[in-house]
Symmetry: C5
Subunit: 356 residues, 5 copies
Amino acid sequence: MPKRYIIQNKNLGTSPGTLTYVGKEVSFETKIWWTSYNFDKYEISEVPDLGNFSVELAEDKTYWMNVDGIHEPAVIANIGDMFNLHPLVLEDILNTHQKPKFEYYNEDQLFVTLKMIEYNPYTREAEIEHLSFVMGEGYVISFQEERSRDIFEPILTRIKASAGKTRKNGADYLLYALIDLVVDNYFTVLDKFSENMEQLEEEIIKNPNPKALNELYSMKRELTIMRKTIFPLREMLASLIREEAPLITANTSLYLRDVLDHVMQVIETVDSYRDLGASLMDLYLSQVSNKMNNVMKVLTVISVIFMPLTFIAGIYGMNFDNMPELHWRYGYYVVWIVMVILVIVMLIWFKRKNWL
Amino acid sequence: MPKRYIIQNKNLGTSPGTLTYVGKEVSFETKIWWTSYNFDKYEISEVPDLGNFSVELAEDKTYWMNVDGIHEPAVIANIGDMFNLHPLVLEDILNTHQKPKFEYYNEDQLFVTLKMIEYNPYTREAEIEHLSFVMGEGYVISFQEERSRDIFEPILTRIKASAGKTRKNGADYLLYALIDLVVDNYFTVLDKFSENMEQLEEEIIKNPNPKALNELYSMKRELTIMRKTIFPLREMLASLIREEAPLITANTSLYLRDVLDHVMQVIETVDSYRDLGASLMDLYLSQVSNKMNNVMKVLTVISVIFMPLTFIAGIYGMNFDNMPELHWRYGYYVVWIVMVILVIVMLIWFKRKNWL
Amino acid sequence: MPKRYIIQNKNLGTSPGTLTYVGKEVSFETKIWWTSYNFDKYEISEVPDLGNFSVELAEDKTYWMNVDGIHEPAVIANIGDMFNLHPLVLEDILNTHQKPKFEYYNEDQLFVTLKMIEYNPYTREAEIEHLSFVMGEGYVISFQEERSRDIFEPILTRIKASAGKTRKNGADYLLYALIDLVVDNYFTVLDKFSENMEQLEEEIIKNPNPKALNELYSMKRELTIMRKTIFPLREMLASLIREEAPLITANTSLYLRDVLDHVMQVIETVDSYRDLGASLMDLYLSQVSNKMNNVMKVLTVISVIFMPLTFIAGIYGMNFDNMPELHWRYGYYVVWIVMVILVIVMLIWFKRKNWL
Amino acid sequence: MPKRYIIQNKNLGTSPGTLTYVGKEVSFETKIWWTSYNFDKYEISEVPDLGNFSVELAEDKTYWMNVDGIHEPAVIANIGDMFNLHPLVLEDILNTHQKPKFEYYNEDQLFVTLKMIEYNPYTREAEIEHLSFVMGEGYVISFQEERSRDIFEPILTRIKASAGKTRKNGADYLLYALIDLVVDNYFTVLDKFSENMEQLEEEIIKNPNPKALNELYSMKRELTIMRKTIFPLREMLASLIREEAPLITANTSLYLRDVLDHVMQVIETVDSYRDLGASLMDLYLSQVSNKMNNVMKVLTVISVIFMPLTFIAGIYGMNFDNMPELHWRYGYYVVWIVMVILVIVMLIWFKRKNWL
Amino acid sequence: MPKRYIIQNKNLGTSPGTLTYVGKEVSFETKIWWTSYNFDKYEISEVPDLGNFSVELAEDKTYWMNVDGIHEPAVIANIGDMFNLHPLVLEDILNTHQKPKFEYYNEDQLFVTLKMIEYNPYTREAEIEHLSFVMGEGYVISFQEERSRDIFEPILTRIKASAGKTRKNGADYLLYALIDLVVDNYFTVLDKFSENMEQLEEEIIKNPNPKALNELYSMKRELTIMRKTIFPLREMLASLIREEAPLITANTSLYLRDVLDHVMQVIETVDSYRDLGASLMDLYLSQVSNKMNNVMKVLTVISVIFMPLTFIAGIYGMNFDNMPELHWRYGYYVVWIVMVILVIVMLIWFKRKNWL
């Protein structure tokens, strides 16, 4: 049973604004990629040491700094200095429990944070990864928790592949592409849930057992966590579009509306899965109740048939001196006949009661 | 058990805007009908090859292109070029998981997408078909998934039949007529549900059995899916009317309000069916509980009666040397009398407890 | 089991605007009353034939046409022509499944439709009757489904009785009086429900049985239907008052607010009855569970007492050659004493466990 | 079982505006107190006969008419004439089922109606009393149902006691003081509920029995009724404050906000009690289920132990000629040893299964 | 069982505005700390006697009066006089049942009240402490219930420690820091809940027992109380930020938004815990039901096997003169063989039914 609900807000009581990483322990080093591109060309380089790195932005290019690992406050603080980020932004980047939101801390910088969800088939759990984006004039900085893989690789591949839409458009389109990737991933997770749900449904209908119940329970728990994780995204995107942010062009805004559409679809699907989960629980309980009923019927049928028979046998096992039936010639056979008739009568009665 | 919840969003990770069909596999060819009409005359022709087809719109006519089959991205892209449709429109047409919405992508084109629902009596499931409409000045393009039948035939028949309201009015009235047809169909589906529900109710009251339970469960699941499918339609129509879209005349707007009314009625009916479904589940559980209670009573009555009797018989089956009762002349008969009295006393006691 | 949920929207697929009656089949003829009154005098006449009837409205009088029966589309169409009613109004009058709403189709005509509810004591069901009103300058037309009685008779009686408030005021006050009558009737129905509910409560507490359960279930179903029927009335009246309709005077508006108050009270009462119904279901289930518990206790007590006794009797019924106890002089009596002690010990144990 | 849900709206069908008392039957006479005060002095007198009473208001005094008993429409009508009250106000005063609201019927008169709740320790029910207030320039009229005691006595006592806040301020402060008294009383009722709830909780945890269940059920019912009674008060006070009523000074408005605060606290407490009630029901059901489980375990343990033993005894009770074991020297003792071993094995098995 | 729900609003019926302490009885004396600081230096002193204390505020300093203990109305009244607080403010400070809110009673004083929550590991209960703050130009007064420790010590330590953010900023930042401390503490409490929840989950899955059930129940109760306590904080902070209070600088407002974020996260977490609690209850009931099922199966298996065997043994224990089988040479062995076959057949049948 892994630690699912722990909040671990370690920086309690420290002065607000002190940078502390809040999340899982990680032992890898932070990797940083620096990408610049325009329609004509692109350049991708790893930044081994932030000390030797200086930010120079050309006007006709879009820059993307991808920070893979947020567990080193010093690195984040360093980037914060370079791009002049607000202390509260840095705090939110480092706090993996921060819920999705966007904010304009400085007039010319848009801060967006949201969650990646990945389904772990072994633990049957939805694993959550904390992502943050800062967009300024001509650049995007993306922060992700260090995991086995860089989740933004598809975008990198797309930039390399061809001078397509991403290359044609600016930083706001890049931001959109990153968010879109995250939201598309929710559908993959939902697909996994949907497969599990169908298996569970089949299993519960055919053979309701405690294992299925535990799976159903953990599925409900995962959906609750997932909903809590995704829900704030709706409000976030809706107000991002509504407020007509200066850094976002009308064209990108149209694409963001598409993302919002998808988010709402995800939330509705999660809600309908929760409904279906509740129905499955009802179904399970009824099936168990039915099985119990059948067990009880077997017990009752066997008791109702054999108790009178055993009683009759008991009667003629008594040792009274004066029991005339015992001396009848066919007494024993008469008893057998009586017993058979009794059984037949009872079987008919059970048949009528629909118990057999 | 069919795949009910699968989302199959196949185009994950591909660049946004790439056209991919998302839905059931279909092997038929796309059929396209091109209809033009005004009050005086009408013309209906099948378009065998889009390559030879060119769009020429006369001012005094209304044009309707009905595309039956959306599984060939090339065909849809072709139509998109002809009518100058936005890439996101094409994506939404091809994505059968897109939820109902309307949008003005270009100033002079209204895009509407919604769902047809048909009740399959064999699987007892509501089958969902993805529909899209694009309306421009003087024309409507309708897209439907390829199925066994063209669902818009009634409208075609009406156009052929007489120079009625449809022929008198323009493209916006045609759009209304198409939507109205879809919404009217929801009532047919609800009627089927209502019939099933009554049968179930009767069955659960008379003879609660696991089969009825499974049906109740799948009905609840279908209603959940149906609600999720229809619900966004309300908001969609409401804002279509509220925004006073330039392409829709005041007269048609009045008719659309009528459709909105029907949609709200459908949603309320679905909701009340869900409520009734929950009540039926309660009823089922109580009935099963009652049956169990009766089974237990039978078992208890039989045990309470025969256990003491068998005990008495056992006593006089003992082989002690010194058991005076065994040598009494009427000992055996006394035992019988005692037993009969015991049974009578117990029956009276059960009667009093209302167990018989 | 009557057809409770059927929707029967028969006019599916027909061109919108075609007049069709949607509802229960009726074999009676439509009856029409034409009433005119002012403070000084009144005149009431039956209209046997609409062909010979022409509408002439004097300025100083209020006219009321009461149409009892809406199953003849021809008659409704005829009235529609006379008063110049919009086709959608006629459709709504004929569609008994139309939910409550009001609408200004023409500038000078207010259309209001709502539901009468009557409690049928035999079927224990709330019967719903579709009502529509059209109010214009100086006249009201009321439409009701043909039933055993004219539900607006009390108003007619009041007009005849004295030159009271109704006679003093105009058409808008008449409309108010008609709606008020309908809403007042809801309270009568709720009173019936309340009586049934108390009986049920008493029965479930004293003797929970499946009959009470079925009644509880059908009560919940009726309340669900009733809520669905009345709920839209609130929004309807609220906007009627808010919009300050030109045909309604400030004075009547005050009275309508009173009606709105009553409607809200009805809805809240229905909601609290539904809550209480759910609590009663819980209570029922717990009572059944308690009864089962008691049955089980009886079974267990009897088994725990007699199984060991029967075993002891069985032991001394064995036929081993060498069983010294059998030859003891008081062996038999010792066994009896042991058994009695055993029973006493068990009874004390059950007493301690609170099972007796 | 008292009549809890009855609505008794007796004036159905009568012309709206006819004065009828709707409520419990009362046989006492109406008592009326007439109080006038300012900072310097006060005067309190009973009004034995309204016929001889005339209203004369001095500008520097605050007048309070306290009407104890609202079952005599004639008296209320008389007061209505004196103070020029609107007919709908009089109707609301007489209708004990009217829910809380405020209204300005005439520009210079504020009408407020709400409910007193008192907890009856004998029936364990919340008894509801209908109160109405009319405030005009310099005077307040309070109406209460005739009960065993005058609920406004504390205010009277305060006026007599000293020239405090009440005496310093005007009619609006008096109105506030009256409302505040009613709301404070809700807390007393909630305290009683809270005590009952704790007793119930303890009882259900220690010994779940049907009596506790019935009490829980009736508590839930009372809370449902109480919520329905108090809830509209929130909206009422909120809009009274928001609308900045001309008759209410800014200072009193501040005090009314305090009352609103208390009302919201009452509602939240009622809601949390309802939640806790639902949890208690769950707890009860689980406890009963646990008890049943224990009963079943006892039954099963006893059956599993004694059935095989009885079977073995039965075997050696058979009368076959050729049963060698019967003639073994220590056959009897061997059987006993086998039995004891069997019992020990089973006890260990039960121990392992945690059944003992 | 401690008094969890008691409201104890002792000042019922007293004139509004009379100062009374409403809460737990406390026997300690009130302790008061007077702190003044600016960026350069700080001074902290205990105030032993309010009589000798006079308030003198220098413009370049921030003053903080920390009142530890609110059970002495006289002390609070004294402070009220010094700082010119509104009577209703004093009442709210003394009423430990007052829910979170903020208010501007005087133009230049902001009153804020909220709740500290601490988790008591012994009683497993969330203990609630009533806090109030008054902020004016250059000063903050904090009031807390007297408990084992001063909950604002971390702030004091921070002021002493270094000339950090708190020392750099004014009274509004101090207010923020105090509120932030309280909210951060909520996370600590939630962490405790989360740990308990996981333990419970594990226990219920492995071994569902009544103790776990009681703990689950009390956890649900605590969460209900906690939600009720924290929920109003959201609205309070939101309007504090929205209204752009004159005493709060834009910079501090940004920090308050951060606190609001945290509060919303707390509420969502509490809600998801309540959901998970409900799921756990379902899980528990299903597990108990499963266990019962298993018990029943054991009982049924043992009965089905031994009842027929005992019956057969009974048959041959009968004493009829004419029972040929008894005299067969291998009769006894045949009976044994028949019995063994019977048992094998039954075991196969149970195996097929998945009961073993």
